[in-house]
Symmetry: C2
Subunit: 428 residues, 2 copies
């Protein structure tokens, strides 16, 4: 019998987990400074939430949903965070009590797609959602926030791409223009685009196939068909980015794969991700709260793929990007059962005093224990046998220099704790 993690999922072992912790704590610090607070929604939802929210014409819902049925209820493991956050907002009646909210989330998402390099069935996103305001400046804020997270971990070379996707006033007109302009070309385009032509023509702008991209490059631009309000909104976003010294590329053909976007859409690209697309994407979605039965409330946000971000960063630095956790302050190597018991108690007491203290476990030879101690990354190591117990003194060796210090432990670990404390405090 042989057990493996399910296809498209992977384990994060401690060395790698240290990198994830570091990305998360860096992001949390950015969220704090920008005033975003954490929300945690369930990992599974009623399937209908995503069918209505993410949208039935999106690839996510059409092809990639991790959906299943149980006792006549249709569930889906969440494929993205936005619909759940909006649902939670409405379920808690925040629209009535505190309508303006700035949320962030960090956690696993699930898409039942064919696993391939960089795409997992369980993957992880961090993201932000602002609910309750139409301000164009908030679009600029979430864009700058996403970029701050990436800068916080030292990523360079990311490119910001922005566009407006219009609103219910001006988008129907642009759709008509696209339909008319595309009609003579659609037979030469791919089968997916043929479907998109019928169901959601804007998605054609996002086709990655060369034959389709050539047609797209000749199409009229949405920025030439925006209504006055959308135009002014987009100009405010761009001016705010300019004011913050943030460069960007305005791409009039940028559309996002989800159905709910209105006005501002953006992506952050990095060449380290190759053809896989954006490491971050987002924008405004002013109709989703109403779709879910709430009032008309402006919303904007972003989500960032954590696997992709860490992959790009690892490629940039050529190695593990965050150090794995440091070794113990003190590792004790007990020789014999009574030394083991005594070291256990000392270690417990040092931990209580705030130190990371450990002992070598396992009925190994002293030689094997010393090898483990040398590999442990400990700052200090102390071998404790019957002689040390009898004398009430242990010899603590600083592994970097070999320097040895004798410490009295007859009345417990207070002197030892003070020594370890002094050792990590720089001299004044």
């Amino acid at each position: 019998m042989n057990f493996k993690a399910p296809r498209g999922t992977h384990d994060i072992l401690p060395d790698e987990a240290a990198t994830w912790q570091w990305l998360e704590s860096t992001a949390r610090e950015s969220f704090r400074r920008f005033g975003y607070r954490e929300i945690r929604t369930p990992l599974l939802e009623h399937l209908e939430l995503f069918e209505r929210g993410t949208g039935e014409t999106s690839d996510v819902v059409q092809k990639e949903m991790y959906a299943f049925e149980k006792s006549d209820t249709r569930y889906a493991l969440r494929p993205e965070g936005t619909p759940s956050v909006v649902r939670a907002y409405l379920q808690a009646s925040l629209d009535k009590t505190q309508p303006f909210q700035k949320f962030f989330y960090i956690g696993p998402m699930f898409r039942y797609e064919r696993p391939q390099a960089g795409r997992q069935r369980q993957f992880h996103q961090l993201g932000a959602e602002v609910i309750g305001a139409d301000d164009a400046l908030l679009d600029a804020e979430v864009i700058l926030l996403a970029l701050q997270v990436l800068e916080g971990i030292g990523l360079t070379g990311q490119r910001l791409i922005v566009n407006s996707s219009g609103c219910t006033t001006c988008r129907p007109g642009y759709r008509d223009v696209l339909h008319k302009t595309l009609e003579p070309h659609i037979d030469g385009m791919c089968a997916d685009c043929d479907m998109r032509f019928k169901r959601n023509v804007l998605r054609i702008l996002d086709c990655k196939k060369e034959v389709c991209r050539r047609v797209v490059a000749t199409l009229p631009k949405i920025t030439e068909h925006l209504c006055d309000a959308c135009r002014a909104h987009f100009d405010t976003v761009l001016q705010a980015l300019d004011g913050a010294g943030q460069t960007y590329e305005a791409d009039p053909y940028l559309v996002r794969g989800l159905d709910y976007y209105t006005r501002t859409v953006f992506e952050i690209h990095h060449e380290g991700l190759g053809a896989r697309g954006a490491i971050c994407g987002g924008g405004r979605y002013d109709n989703l709260v109403e779709t879910f039965g709430g009032p008309s409330l402006g919303c904007t946000g972003f989500s960032m793929g954590m696997e992709g971000t860490l992959a790009v960063l690892a490629g940039q630095s050529g190695e593990a990007v965050a150090p794995s956790g440091p070794g113990p302050d003190l590792l004790m190597v007990p020789v014999g059962a009574s030394a083991e018991n005594q070291c256990f108690q000392w270690s417990f007491s040092l931990r209580d005093q705030g130190h990371y203290s450990d002992i070598t476990y396992g009925s190994k030879s002293v030689k094997a224990k010393m090898r483990a101690a040398n590999r442990s990354g400990s700052i200090f190591v102390a071998v404790v046998g019957d002689d040390e117990l009898a004398a009430g003194e242990i010899i603590v060796k600083r592994m970097e220099t070999g320097e040895e210090t004798k410490i009295d432990v007859r009345s417990g670990t207070n002197q030892l704790a003070a020594f370890l404390y002094d050792a990590r405090t720089p001299p004044t």
Copy 2:
């Protein structure tokens, strides 16, 4: 149309999330001092992993598995952490390269049981697993670690209950004794116990029904039937707890609901949880690595229910147990569009300098903005209109005292940032 979170799941909104963050960071600090490193396994696994690992006679597998089928593969959302951690350990061949590992995990678990007070279908556990050593001291270590986590969040009144459940040498003999002693009584016991009598007689010791408990109280004790090795192991655990000054109750009828335990088992109870059982449980499971196809390796660990722990703590303190996050260092209230743009840029710059700065968004009246500012918990508030922009000076009001300070912003936010920095640094 009205969307709700699925039955048995709940949203954690920002005020509550602050409490969860605090429990997690407290636990992480204990794990660090004890030398446990984080492992993250997928949220779903092949169903067989839990059938073999958690055990087919356990209630978890028999009644509570969140199992589903998709494309002819049987999955389960993980009901507990231990089988996944052991699988990940073997899948990464750690048994060959670094056999001794101390792991911790924090995350969601899923059981498809009838939702009731304190029991959710998606719930959360934190836990520790030591793989690769037989040392009895490690059993004491994980017990003390679990108690440290609870003490770290200020919980009082928890009770430690310990027992040994024997091993493959001595447990069969004890089972025989139980079968013989129970046979005359089994007809008067509950239907579940009748089933347990046939499938796993030890689980009868765990029955909560009064009629069965009366019989259990008269049964022979496992501690009278341990083999010498199990007896010595258990004595070492108890001595180590004594040495650490840790009180405990030895309960010879304590068994755990999962099938894989050997030797030491323990639970931490708190009366605040009422009849719901333990807030933490664990013990040794020396056969699980072999069950999954690995070598014979000793293992021990615990898991702690986070919902239960926070519920007990809230009952103890009578209110929210961790403060929700602090308000902004500075909240700017812009009056007019150019003030809004300028405040946006200043705010962005202050965040870059490490401050939590925010502005009131939404096209609300100045009165509504001031109400929002008063509620925000900000340390300082500044109203910025055309006069302030023209003068290049803003007035920053400390909300606690009403004290006002004029700050020059003609050349950017450096003076403002320094002021905010000084304001939160205690005078020397």
